[in-house]
Amino acid sequence: MGVFILKRLLSAVPVLFMVAVIVFLVLRLSPGDPAVMIAGPNATPDQLAALRDAMGLNEPLLTQLFVWLGQILSGDFGVSLVSGQPVTHLIMDRFGPTLSLSIVTLIIAVVVAIPLGVVAAWQQGKLLDRLVMAGSVLGFSVPVFIIGYTMILIFARILGWFPVQGYKPLSDGFGEFAIRLVLPAVSLSFPYIALIARIVRTNVIEVMNEDYIRTARAKGLTERGVLMGHALGNAAVPIITIIGVSIAMLIGGVVVTESVFNIPGLGRLVLEAVLARDYTVIQSVILLFSTIYVFINLVVDLLYSLFDPRIRY
């Protein structure tokens, strides 16, 4: 196991290096630069040149790339070209809201989707199954911002149960923290509930046709016991895979929810940085996302062996 983890971590190094280089080059090849955005329309060519010089943008591309890679290796993500703030500081500020939203969303998604999927599989072809599958199609098809607006209208503006927007960290109290996450997390969980429920249903149905399930039934086990004791456990590997993928998608895909509910998270940070061509921030956040992807994939692989003893590394 230790060797496997070490190998996986080592194999992540070239992956992240390639991500860093590609992101760096794509940004430099895209139109616009932060000096133009900062200086505004009145800037003279001399002022722009001076600003680019101060930002290090006049250095050769390779020099800029190696300076940045060197900074990363020493744990320094540099300074935002727009705000002048350390990128590490900006990311730290924004990581908490995104992580909170992602975790709460995932908890809701898993807690709701797995029972729904199991019940749908159990009731395959019956009304309940059809209702779950119809809900799943709806959850997939309706854009998150529509769900968000609808929830704001009903639960914030009409009923007044929740605030419309904003984020408070845990240090402001659990109530303040939680009440602001309910609407965004529920809104964001819809597509993930739909996705996970479908995967659970499909895999449980597949497992339910296995010989050992028939044996379990023949031994007189109740249908509930079969489902929970044998089917779900054996369907776990693809379910864990899809949950892992969902976490990765969540971290990078919360931008719309963060915008609708005014949550100052990483999604918004990277979107603002792209519009302002804030190279250092974009590069660092994308590298962070990539690292999270790699880490989640590793955790998912390790979990396989926990749920399926046949898998050993």
């Binding site: 900062i38 200086a39 101060a54 590490t88 500020d93 915008s259 005014n262």
Partner: protein
């Protein structure tokens, strides 16, 4: 190893900000806090390095100006009074008593001289002033002089400039920073102190009342007169989704939206809990701009055809809604509220004349080569412009290749003088707030010095001569005559095409008593009842 720094820093950071909540997003609300959603996020703190309006608005909170315009456009003393020598060559500025920086040190003439010297490198009007100035000297702690080679009115105009890059005063140590290096200090002498610890770039900015600020005795008017701070704290928060901002206003989570999109106004119109206000001086002008260095717009007749093809009402209808009271047609290059408003060629500018344009295209042998029109899609006011312009040009017989992109890409591409196949362009459109266009020195859109002009690079020496003349005259009537001449030359040469004016609508809770009508949204003389 590569993973190590990431792992150590971000694991700790994530745990810290999630579990302990060690972010700066919280703001300890004071007794009277006004929470405002501004038109753009604040991401930088140097008002001299950019003409972004959010930076100007920030600067009016934190900094002060030597002179200011009142509601009628008259130049008034703000931090300083002035006297002009009999020969009109020397201006002496004397700082008023009690001026203090937020760190408690007094404002001195040295600070002001350093601030002006930094500002006049970046601002167009400041550059004109600097080019005419022989000397700027400190006389004593409260007095400094500026000496010119000939009498000029540009000094007072420049130092009272309300928008674009306005001349804000900073401590000498800060103002000594080269203009290529953005300042990060926020120590000013304005009525509000910036709360640096609560600042989250792009998310929120907090300002608290500066107890050391002594307002002027005169009543508040425009940006001049008394700046009385009547609340304890103002929080600017960024909301990327205007629908969310409107909902937050309706549930009382925020107090003020600087610019609510026109299509959302019906949500609050007629509701006594909210007030709608148009700060007239914060209106904006649409303009279309052609590239004079590339065919077909290197041909003045083809530029005239574009002017005839375009009409203002369709543009305004798309921006603020058909029949809306928030848009008005205006043929004047320098804006209809300006002292230099002109109705020269009003019909040709305001109304579309596709048949007349077609006639010119036929006469000029236009071969149908596509016009590359840049269309910005990420700014609400600019999004409707491209399609409206493109359709009007097509109606007049042009072939149009409208290329949609984000504003950053427009800004980058419009700087290109290359051919179309190499990344050049023929046309783009934008907006400017009216205070930025109401005089021919400050308005870069009328500059016509070829390579040194604004994007599109029109080369009309008569316009540049007239701008130079304008800068050096002191008589208002003479200045107006020159400005009207510039308006005519700009239209005759297709330097820019005015595309109508529109007002942004501010919406606030009825608990707020809004402050003064000024060129920037200011928060002094604004109060909030519980």
């Amino acid at each position: 190893m590569f993973m190590s720094p990431l792992g150590s820093r971000f694991t700790k950071a994530a745990l810290l900000s999630f579990a302990i909540g060690a972010t700066t997003s919280t703001t300890a609300f004071a007794e009277t806090t006004v929470t405002a959603v501004m038109h753009a996020p604040l991401r930088a703190l140097d008002p001299a390095i950019s003409s972004a309006y959010i930076l100007r608005n920030y600067a009016y909170m934190v900094y002060d100006t030597l002179l200011a315009l009142d509601a009628d456009g008259n130049i008034k003393p703000q931090m300083a009074d002035w006297a002009v020598s009999d020969d009109g060559l020397t201006y002496t500025f004397t700082l008023r008593d009690g001026l203090m920086w937020h760190d408690g040190t007094p404002v001195t003439a040295e600070d002001c001289v350093a601030s002006i010297a930094r500002w006049d490198q970046v601002d167009k009007t400041g550059q004109v002033m600097a080019s005419l100035m022989n000397d700027m000297s400190v006389v004593d702690d409260k007095t400094f002089t500026m000496t010119f080679s000939e009498p000029t009115a540009v000094v007072l105009t420049a130092l009272s400039k309300p928008s674009g890059i306005a001349p804000f005063m900073m401590p000498k140590a800060v103002a000594s920073t080269p203009v290529s290096e953005p300042i990060t200090s926020s120590i000013g002498s304005g009525p509000f102190k910036f709360v640096a610890d609560a600042y989250q770039p792009g998310v929120s900015a907090t300002f608290e009342k500066f107890d050391g600020y002594i307002p002027r005795d005169e009543p508040s008017s425009g940006l001049a007169g008394a700046k009385e701070v009547l609340v304890d704290e103002v929080v600017w928060t960024t909301m990327p989704d205007p629908m969310t901002a409107a909902s937050a206003l309706m549930t009382g989570e925020i107090d003020f939206i600087e610019q609510l999109p026109h299509d959302l106004l019906p949500l609050v119109e007629g509701n006594p809990d909210f007030q709608l206000k148009i700060f007239a001086k914060q209106g904006s002008q649409n303009l279309a701009r052609m590239n004079h260095t590339l065919p077909p717009f290197d041909n003045p007749e083809m530029r005239k055809a574009v002017m005839l093809a375009l009409g203002q009402q369709p543009m305004l209808d798309a921006q603020v809604g058909a029949g809306s009271e928030y848009g008005n047609t205006c043929p004047a290059v320098l804006g209809c509220g300006s002292a230099y408003a002109s109705d020269y060629l009003a019909d040709e500018i305001v109304n579309p004349h596709p048949e007349a344009a077609k006639k010119i295209l036929a006469e000029q042998g236009y071969d149908g080569t596509p016009i590359l029109l840049m269309h910005a899609t990420d700014l609400a006011n600019l999004t409707p412009q491209g399609p409206v312009i493109a359709q009007q040009l097509r109606d007049a017989g042009f072939t149009v290749d409208m290329v949609s992109m984000d504003w950053a890409s427009v800004v980058a591409r419009r700087g290109s003088k290359a051919t179309i196949s190499d990344g050049g362009w023929n046309m783009f459109s934008t907006t400017n707030v009216l205070p930025d266009v109401d005089d021919p020195i400050g308005f870069i859109g009328v500059a016509a010095g070829g390579d040194t002009a604004w994007f599109g690079w029109p080369d009309v020496p008569e316009i540049e001569q007239a701008r130079t003349d304008f800068a050096s005259v002191a008589d208002p009537d003479e200045a107006k005559a020159i400005a009207l001449k510039i308006d005519k030359l700009v239209k005759d040469n297709g330097v820019m095409i005015p595309m109508g004016e529109f007002s942004s609508v501010t919406v606030a809770s009825s608990a707020i008593t809004l402050g003064v009508d000024a060129e920037a949204p200011v928060f002094w003389n604004l109060s909030k009842s519980e």
